[in-house]
Symmetry: C2
Subunit: 430 residues, 2 copies
């Protein structure tokens, strides 16, 4: 492919450039997939560190001092791997079109992570309120999840986009489980759940279920099989029992239930991490396979182009009508054959171009399903943000209001969200 100025480029140059653009997108996804793996590990480490920090602060430094230091060491290893991957792919991310938003999200997370050591010092010195310490960790995890979301949203290959949507929802569901662990552990430790605690837990359970639904819709069979295997693990019975006790207050709470709850949810979170790993393995294989296939297809296309003659002159009319050009001439006027023969159908550049166009269109259509799942989330987030801002609700209250409206009106959450956004535009509050 020549890129010199003033040299007219041929159709086959563009045919090949189109294929190369696909390969470039796949390579990009391969590298972003590696970043997603790093993020998955980093989030898991941060979740553990958050849990231990919570207990350390709650016990006024009497518990978990040792294991917290160990966990910090582990987080730092994943942090280093995350930064290293980011550095390696920085040039690629920065030059990839339409990445302003992703880069902005990364800026946020990187800056937050730079402050982590300071917060750890405050935790160690018992110099920070536990709820704020927790909030810093949760915000970092939320920022990391957003990077995965943006990656899924920008993926142009439908199969890879599906895996990334499954991945984001699994990771998000796992984080919600982590938050449920914290609320439950605190409630059982104190011996009572306030109405707000119960609402919060209900919201977290509800949101987890929605995440896992989307995960099962988009996951590959291997990850799904592992998921189903874990879905019948006996400890889930205990979790449901403790949830019931938390909500009803019957039988009365006992303080040791806090540790039991914490261990159960930790087991659940670790299981979810195993499913994540299965998804990650598949994602990497899939990306590598796709890059390999696209390269093979490019080589094949280049070989095929070599065998094609110049068919442009008559070829266009033949291509447009599907008829041999001879039959298209006015009767008795057949003396003019610029190339001497008409090209065989099925081997013309036009047909290669059309074949590629159909394949790209098909990919575009398939992508819709994965995009819709993300679009629904965006709409819900936007509706919630409007409610939080203009009706002064908390995140939980906004979510509950949405859910209540959906139930009352017999509509889907996403439709209620859309209606709220549209109404906000009419009220000029957006």
């Amino acid at each position: 492919m020549t890129t010199e100025k003033n040299t007219p480029l041929s159709a086959t140059d563009y045919l090949i450039a189109s294929k190369q653009a696909e390969i470039q997108s796949l390579n990009y996804l391969l590298h972003m997939g590696q970043l997603v793996v790093m993020i998955s590990d980093l989030i898991h480490a941060l979740q553990k560190e958050r849990g231990a920090s919570n207990i350390y602060l709650g016990s006024k430094g009497s518990q978990f001092e040792q294991s917290l230091q160990q966990l910090i060491g582990q987080t730092n290893q994943h942090l280093q791997a995350f930064h290293q991957t980011l550095s390696t792919i920085h040039a690629e991310i920065s030059s990839h079109a339409g990445n302003s938003r992703l880069l902005n999200r990364i800026a946020y997370v990187v800056h937050g992570l730079a402050g982590l050591d300071g917060v750890r010092h405050q935790i160690h010195a018992l110099n920070i309120r536990p709820d704020l310490a927790i909030r810093v960790y949760s915000e970092l995890i939320s920022g990391l999840l957003t990077i995965v979301f943006e990656t899924a949203d920008a993926a142009v290959d439908p199969t890879i986009a599906r895996v990334l949507v499954a991945m984001f929802n699994l990771m998000h569901g796992k984080e919600l489980a982590g938050q449920e662990r914290a609320v439950g552990a605190a409630g059982f430790a104190v011996g009572t759940f306030t109405a707000a605690d119960i609402q919060r837990m209900q919201h977290l359970i509800d949101a987890q279920e929605r995440c896992f639904e989307l995960f099962t819709e988009f996951a590959n069979p291997a990850a799904l099989a592992l998921w189903q295997q874990y879905a019948s693990r006996p400890y889930l019975i205990d979790i449901e029992r403790l949830r019931r006790i938390a909500f009803t207050g019957t039988p009365p709470h006992r303080a040791e239930q806090s540790d039991h709850w914490f261990d159960l949810l930790t087991q659940r979170i670790d299981d979810l991490k195993s499913v994540e790993t299965a998804l990650e393995v598949y994602l990497q294989q899939l990306c590598e396979q796709k890059v390999h296939d696209a390269n093979a297809s490019l080589n094949q296309q280049q070989d095929l182009i070599q065998t094609l003659g110049e068919d442009a002159a008559e070829g266009f009319v033949v291509f447009l009508t599907g008829h041999d050009s001879a039959s298209l001439k006015p009767a008795s006027l057949d003396q003019y054959h610029p190339e001497g023969l008409s090209p065989r159908l099925g081997r013309s550049v036009f047909e290669l171009v059309q074949h590629q166009a159909q394949r790209l269109q098909h990919m575009h259509d398939e992508l819709e399903a994965a995009r819709t799942a993300l679009e629904e989330r965006k709409l819900q987030q936007k509706a919630k943000a409007l409610l939080i801002k203009h009706r002064k609700l908390t995140e939980d209250e906004a979510h509950r209001l949405l859910r209540q409206m959906a139930m009352d009106q017999g509509k889907k959450l996403v439709d209620v969200s859309r209606a709220i956004i549209e109404m906000a535009e009419i009220w000029r509050v957006s």
Copy 2:
């Protein structure tokens, strides 16, 4: 901005990279805007050449031989300018993410244009059926329009996207006027309009109106003012009168009406081209202004970053809670100040990141309106394609069926289209 391996990048690196990604997108749009200008001129030349070729073939070579050669010379000049612009921006188009489809469209057009000289020879030798010659020109124009459509669809800046949507619809409407000119000229020349001719003209008038509606919705004030000025030109009365005569057959057609009709529509098309030029001038100015502003904003951001201290440690907690960190500490525990002072709110890296995020979100939301107009067209095209394929309808018939359903059901064309596509999926015919 460093891109070396193993050097952890800071949040400000990503903040700047995000801004640079925006500038890159704007530069890309600036160059694609230049291609759109070339396409506008090339289409106009092809429309003229098509009209003259039609008359030349219709008169069996007795009319327009000279002026056809002149028009071909003019087209070739625009063709060369188009190819030159393509070559100049080839590297940029090829490396821009997600451009497989655009490159495929370009491959199609470039290959078709390569065959143009062969078709011209066939026309000169009266060695091609007039309808096929016309079809070659129309297909080339349609392919060129698709490049403009894809450019509008991929634009990430909302203001530029709006102008491109206006531009595409104006160009498309102008091409439909060109097709109406051909159908009308042929009908008046023969002295009668068949039912199919009338249907075709009605469809073309209808489709023009939809295009011009969208143009007026998205155009800038200057182009709109010119448009409105031309909308009251007296020749439009004559066009409407001749349309009525064509549809009703009263008063009887006269052969000289063919030339009159052709001249009137040519005047209309030339006026539309003037509006196109006004849009083009605005598009170029807008793109240059946006690139300039973004660069200024980047410089400002870089200056601001210089003045900011390292605020990451305490800054995150402050940022998350909106409170000075001192007030967040457990009572009586205030001996720990890692940096000595807390950063002023409003001047932290977090706030810069958040400001950028809000701006990007706002742009994303604004983009929706322009995208919706394109999305509706995609849905209609897809619904029509399904009807053409599975109900064996022509393009006109498919369009009429859609319009009829919309009227009968009191729905918008786009909603009927969506319903047809959804039903097709249920019937498993997509």
